[in-house]
């Protein structure tokens, strides 16, 4: 039954790990700075007693989550991210423990666009955003030239319109 649909095979770039590590580090760094500032303020002004405890708990949680999302999560995410494009469907699949597998018919795609932030540019990567009538989907961090090919391919294939849509 499952044979005539091909599981998506294409992987995203190995550099994605570094990109995610970098962005996650920045994010957690900013968050912990805010918490630390609040803690200092808390020590100097007379706030409610429970605010201090909440802040310490938040800081602890942030450190744990930072360790996870900087050292482990990017590796796993990159390892299991797959996408596949054929003339009928775009398929996106990611996650090992929390698997998510999505099929989007080519004819229902309304736009494709490329995105590139400073960190992605450093590694020569791009992410492709695919928008349908319902929602938007992203293939994160693939080689820039490959991303362009994908964009053009989807744009060409999505031009074909289904009857009655």
């Amino acid at each position: 039954m499952y044979q005539h649909i091909e599981e998506p095979k294409q992987k995203i770039s190995q550099h994605a790990i570094n990109v995610w590590r970098f962005t996650n580090t920045i994010g957690h760094f900013i968050f912990s700075i805010i918490i630390v500032v609040l803690l200092i303020l808390n020590a100097n002004f007379e706030w409610y007693g429970w605010i201090g405890y909440v802040l310490w708990i938040l800081l602890g949680l942030d450190i744990i989550s930072a360790i996870w999302s900087v050292f482990f999560e990017p590796i796993l995410l990159q390892k299991y991210w797959r996408y596949g494009i054929n003339k009928d469907f775009v398929q996106l699949k990611h996650g090992r423990w929390n698997m998510e597998h999505q099929a989007i018919p080519m004819t229902k795609i309304q736009y494709v666009s490329l995105k590139q932030g400073p960190i992605l540019r450093k590694y020569g990567l791009s992410s492709v955003t695919i928008g349908t009538m319902a929602s938007t989907h992203e293939i994160p961090a693939i080689q820039e030239d490959e991303a362009k090919t994908i964009r053009d391919e989807i744009a060409a294939l999505a031009k074909i319109r289904e009857v009655e849509s």
């Binding site: 005539h4 009928d88 698997m99 998510e100 099929a103 004819t107 009857v163 849509s165």
Partner: protein
């Protein structure tokens, strides 16, 4: 083709009355509550009030004068705005739904309100002619129908080979003819009046009535006397209770009759037409090809009485003033509902014999974190510790709903159709076709992987988008459905693109 037209002059009166409604509260405040007050601010308020009224008279006239429309061959053009002019064109092929709404006060004047709905997302997505003559409304509908018919003929000529077999061989004869599918019988209205619980509305109505009277005349003494009298005489008490019940039932019946009495569902090749309301007559139509999915909804009570509500999920909103208008009829006998869907929308035909889920799915359902219960219990423990039994009731309800959900959830794929029933106390059967699903998603977390289960989610076009999910189904079933979906072979404009349908049972 046409010159610019204005709406019926009644529009002025209507919008004036509508604006009166907005300032009714101010009127009460200034002239009734502060009736004898001569304070300066009240005086100023009154002057402003009259100034506003006079301004409104002129603005209503100016708006009417400056709002014109013209019907062309392929679009309707509307010009609005007193000082800043706004031109707005609605192309016919963008119009998804046409509705007319005739409140009882417009009926004797032979007028109606017509709304054109387009599928667009912004605020210009619909336009309402507040008051136009019935003939004019009919003419606009006629022009629209003519246009769509012409459009429909062209592509069909190319694609005769690929039209759906189901619809083309059953109904070539009855082009154009409207078939009436449903008129509620007396029995249906009776059932509806029981189920709609509209008789319960009498209680707040009576309460507010009494309160109003009480404000003017002091009722407390008389009511005490009446109360004492009744306590002594069982006969009068029972008479009173009896009368009360009769009145409630009568009230419920009248209300239901006014709402669902003269109801008619009909259809032709193109559209589904619904007419409803006795005092306020509403007509609306939905293009058949815009229907993305059909829902059959049943509460526990309705299931016992074998009654169901049929809803159409359609592209292009069908919602005026918050009233749910996508419902075909909320109290259809279940068998009639099935037949009717088959008659009106043969592509969404329902089959019986849906597959149930395996036992492990029940286990997974029970194991799920009862988030609602946890949140509820936390709130109760923190804020209302005395009410702790509610937590137990909530927990039992959660478990019961999950068990029921397991029993009622079932699923079937036949041909192009995906049929899914979900829900515990309130079940929804959703029927959609492969072509109308615009996204398909499988999800599986760590626990589900152990059990060999997965969640499935389909998305349909609608406004807002319509997502239907089926949780904790066996992974084989999920993959099977995935394969079914990816085997879709859409008809494509201008030629035979798309792979052959490999999968068909």
């Amino acid at each position: 083709m046409e010159t610019n037209k204005r709406m019926h002059p009644m529009m002025m009166l209507l919008s004036f009355i509508a604006s009166l409604k907005d300032i009714f509260f101010m009127f009460i405040f200034l002239f009734i509550i502060h009736f004898s007050s001569t304070a300066t601010w009240v005086e100023i308020g009154r002057i402003l009030f009259f100034a506003y009224l006079i301004y409104k008279v002129f603005s209503v006239i100016a708006t009417w004068w400056r709002t014109t429309y013209s019907v062309n061959n392929s679009f309707i053009e509307i010009r609005q705005g007193v000082f800043t002019r706004k031109q707005h064109q609605i192309p016919f092929d963008r119009i998804q739904n046409v509705q007319t709404n005739t409140p009882f006060y417009l009926r004797p004047l032979n007028l109606t309100a017509l709304t054109l709905e387009t599928g667009a997302e912004d605020e210009d997505s619909s336009f309402t002619f507040t008051a136009i003559s019935k003939q004019e409304a009919e003419q606009i509908e006629h022009v629209l129908d003519y246009y769509t018919k012409q459009q429909a003929q062209e592509p069909e000529a190319i694609q005769t080979s690929e039209t759906e077999t189901a619809s083309s061989n059953t109904q070539p004869v009855m082009q154009d003819k409207r078939i009436v599918h449903f008129n509620p019988t007396k029995k249906d209205v009776l059932k509806a009046s029981v189920l709609s619980f509209s008789y319960l509305l009498l209680i707040p109505v009576l309460a507010s009535l009494l309160r109003n009277i009480d404000e003017v005349y002091d009722l407390s003494e008389t009511s005490e006397k009446i109360f004492d009298f009744l306590r002594e005489s069982w006969f009068w008490l029972s008479v009173l209770i009896f009368m009360f019940i009769i009145i409630t039932i009568g009230f419920g019946l009248v209300r239901t009759y006014l709402k669902y009495g003269r109801y008619e569902i009909s259809s032709d090749q193109e559209r589904i037409y619904i007419r409803k309301g006795v005092l306020n007559e509403q007509h609306f139509s939905i293009r058949k090809q815009n229907v993305q999915a059909v829902h059959i909804e049943q509460s526990l009570l309705k299931r016992m009485l074998r009654i169901a509500e049929v809803k159409l999920i359609s592209a292009g909103g069908v919602d005026i003033s918050g009233e749910e208008i996508n419902s075909l009829y909320p109290f259809l006998p279940i068998n009639r509902a099935y037949n009717m869907i088959e008659e009106i929308l043969p592509e969404f035909a329902i089959k019986t014999g849906m597959e149930q889920l395996p036992k492990k799915s029940l286990v997974a359902r029970i194991c799920q974190l009862p988030l609602l219960w946890i949140i509820g219990t936390t709130i109760i423990v923190i804020f209302f510790p005395k009410w702790w039994p509610i937590s137990i009731i909530l927990f039992l309800l959660t478990v019961a709903s999950r068990i029921l959900d397991y029993y009622f959830t079932c699923y079937l794929i036949h041909g192009e159709v995906l049929q899914v029933r979900t829900g515990g106390f309130f079940t929804t059967t959703s029927i959609t076709t492969r072509e109308k699903i615009i996204e398909f998603k499988l999800e599986q977390d760590l626990i589900q992987k152990r059990f060999g289960l997965a969640d499935m989610e389909t998305t349909n076009r609608s406004k807002p988008i319509h997502v239907n999910s089926l949780d904790n189904i066996p992974i084989d079933m999920a993959k099977h459905t995935f394969a079914w979906y990816t085997g879709r072979s859409p008809k494509v404009e201008g030629g035979s693109y798309g792979k052959q349908d490999l999968y068909r049972r």
